[in-house]
Assembly symmetry: C2
Homo-oligomer: 233 residues x 2
């Protein structure tokens, strides 16, 4: 369990700004002072596996930075289906992207440690310090870009979505082409707008064409990134 944390447990992510895979460098470097702000001001909190961090339509009072573990945000549609808003990994900040009222709930996927600060503390700070305001803006812009990419993903075929998902995860939580997935197939399916069966079949498909290996269901080895990139469209 917590295989995800395991891959970086030796070196706490928050003190390691660089990664072993080429990560989009621009997106990492900029929000240091905001991140450090949370580092200094944040109250540590623990959430066991599958527990709620905040509920839909609660006031969006707090901002969270993940220390270890993993979080999913989601909404339940009127027909009962669940749409995953996003996955958050160590180092990620979440809570900012919601308006005064959440329309999402957040849950710990695995045992998760976060640092929590009042949203008002950050926006107040931004009022006094324009550079913090700029970072808030940048962070939101980046989240926006991710959403745009996600929209692109959602109009593609199942194979393209799964390949895109794997590449996205690889950029964020990958060591030696081994991606440790903290989330279940159901989580992935609800994130990609597919069914678990389709996700599973697609993964076995990718395995048969030697693009990936799936030694255990939560561990994916990327064997052929260029093939994945090709499938990604």
């Amino acid at each position: 369990m917590l295989s995800h944390t395991a891959i970086r447990s030796n070196v706490d992510r928050q003190f390691v700004p660089t990664r072993n895979v080429a990560p989009d460098p621009a997106s990492k470097a900029r929000d240091n002072s905001l991140g450090q702000c949370i580092q200094l001001m944040g109250a540590p909190m623990n959430y066991p596996r599958n527990t709620e961090i905040f509920g839909e339509d609660e006031p969006a009072e707090y901002v969270y930075k993940i220390v270890s573990g993993a979080v999913r945000t989601y909404r339940i549609l009127s027909d009962g289906r669940r749409q995953i808003g996003g996955f958050y990994l160590p180092g990620d900040i979440f809570g900012l992207q919601f308006e005064d009222e959440h329309s999402f709930s957040a849950e710990a996927i695995t045992e998760t440690k976060v640092l929590v600060v009042k949203r008002s503390a950050l926006t107040g700070l931004a009022g006094r310090d324009a550079s913090v305001g700029k970072e808030l803006f940048n962070l939101t812009s980046r989240e926006l870009r991710r959403m745009q990419d996600r929209i692109l993903l959602l109009v593609k075929s199942a194979q393209e979505r799964v390949a895109g998902f794997l590449l996205e995860m690889a950029e964020r939580a990958c060591a030696n082409n081994i991606v440790e997935l903290p989330m279940s197939r159901q989580d992935i399916a609800d994130y990609l707008g597919l069914t678990i069966e389709t996700v599973s079949r697609t993964l076995t498909g990718l395995e048969t064409v030697a693009a990936i290996e799936v030694p255990t269901s939560r561990r994916i080895v990327l064997r052929n990134r260029s093939a994945l990139n090709r499938l990604n469209g």
Copy 2:
């Protein structure tokens, strides 16, 4: 849904005299000074029908506020398909949501007048005036929310997508339940991740169940909003 930035200050109300449905008031009122900034500083520009305003991967140097007309942003996928990023109507600001390099192109759908300001002018202003920075942040947050809604739309059925699209357009460009669509069926299809045939069939379907009327292809009369809301999920 429609990834746009709906700012309508009193100043530009005159350009949308047809609007008579109550627009979400909270989202309009806040960023007046930003909108008025563009109003004062902006250079007027005209784009004929179907001409490019900016191209993909040009530096994101400018921010635009629409005076009249309509704009679509889009990307071309590697397989040649086109994904529409959003539609922008009079009063809307666009260009902010792109990072240093656009990944989108923008085109005038109809003859369009815009006001243009340098992006740097706004961010510079934000550096000096925290309230402008806050408005930039708010604007981006709102855009983010629309993207989230759009993602929800994209995992639904064709009927739900089209119904959702109509309701969204009705909120933005509707008089007496008559929605005038500036964009073609192909634009709508590329926005919703459907084909023109499916969009067309779905519209006739909605007409048969008396939810809408389609007197001309670009004009939709909403006959039964609650039915549409129900279909929207």
